[in-house]
Amino acid sequence: MREPRVELLWWEGCPSTDEALAILREEMAELGLDPGAIDAREVSTDAEARREEFVGSPTIRVDGRDVQPLSDEPIGLSCRVYRTTDGRVSPVPDRLEVRQTLTDAMKGGDD
């Protein structure tokens, strides 16, 4: 089984980091991945946001792929707006999208 690189980028101005991290850990554990391997990094300055291409907190990437496809999100220190599969606004990504992105990466791609 392939172990993807999992990143969680967060900013202290949003209270959603713990919830996002919990979702990510649970989904990784369900798939037999090591939650301890999550590379969680704080983004605290505009310069860091530009360097990380950070479009809001929390951002979860698996092998560099964002768990929810980006549209025209501006780079910067903000709280990210996600949409759940039922259309609601959410401060964290949908659990199913997290799982699907992890699963795709474990297979070696998204196709």
Binding site: E12, G13, C14, P15, S16, D46, P74, G76, L77, S78, C79, R80, V81, Y82, R88, V89, S90, P91
Partner: protein
């Protein structure tokens, strides 16, 4: 983690006088002009503010005939957060048919005076403009069924001249974007 508020339940509300998205200046009602007033700090880009917005709007519509005033305030730095610019605020008000004015706190002085911390951050004032409730609209931004129950409870109490049983809750949302 939200910081302790400088304003607190029981205090008289600080002054509030700001332009809305069309330039009209709005202020708090004068004493005894309205039986209750709700002031909510909000913004355009925060998932918590967006998640709770429809519920707050519905409360405004439901309590309109009882004379309750609503004022929404956006204090975020529009230079670093263009989605909170005056133009973006105007577009949103026009496209969503807001039932209350959306005030632009460009200097951020109002947010500092009120010690608003996050979006959304609600204050319910009585007819004397004394703060009777401060905090979140309800316990869960993701559950529309909560129906802004904490805000409704606070308004119901204030409208009959009693103190809300739940006078304060922790406001939950995105930090105000200071300059």
């Amino acid at each position: 983690m939200a910081q302790a508020s400088a304003t607190k339940v029981g205090d008289l509300a600080p002054p509030l006088e700001l332009p809305d998205t069309s330039g009209t200046v709005h202020a708090l009602p004068t004493r005894d002009e309205a039986p209750a007033t709700v002031v909510v700090w909000t913004c355009n880009h925060c998932p918590y503010a967006l998640g709770w917005h429809d519920r707050i709007v519905q409360v405004a519509r439901d309590y309109e005939d009882r004379g309750v005033r609503f004022l929404a305030v956006n204090s975020n730095d529009q230079e670093r957060y263009p989605r909170d610019s005056l133009e973006a605020m105007r577009e949103r008000v026009e496209s969503e048919d807001w039932p209350f004015p959306y005030l632009h706190d460009e200097s951020q002085e109002a947010a500092r005076a009120w010690a608003a911390q996050v979006t959304p951050h609600l204050y319910v004032l009585d007819s004397e403009l004394r703060i009777r409730y401060e905090g979140a609209p309800d316990p869960d931004h993701m559950d529309p069924g909560q129906d802004a129950v904490w805000l409704r409870e606070a308004l119901d109490a204030v409208l009959v001249g009693t103190a809300p049983a739940r006078a304060a809750t922790d406001p939950v949302g995105c930090s105000i974007k200071w300059k």
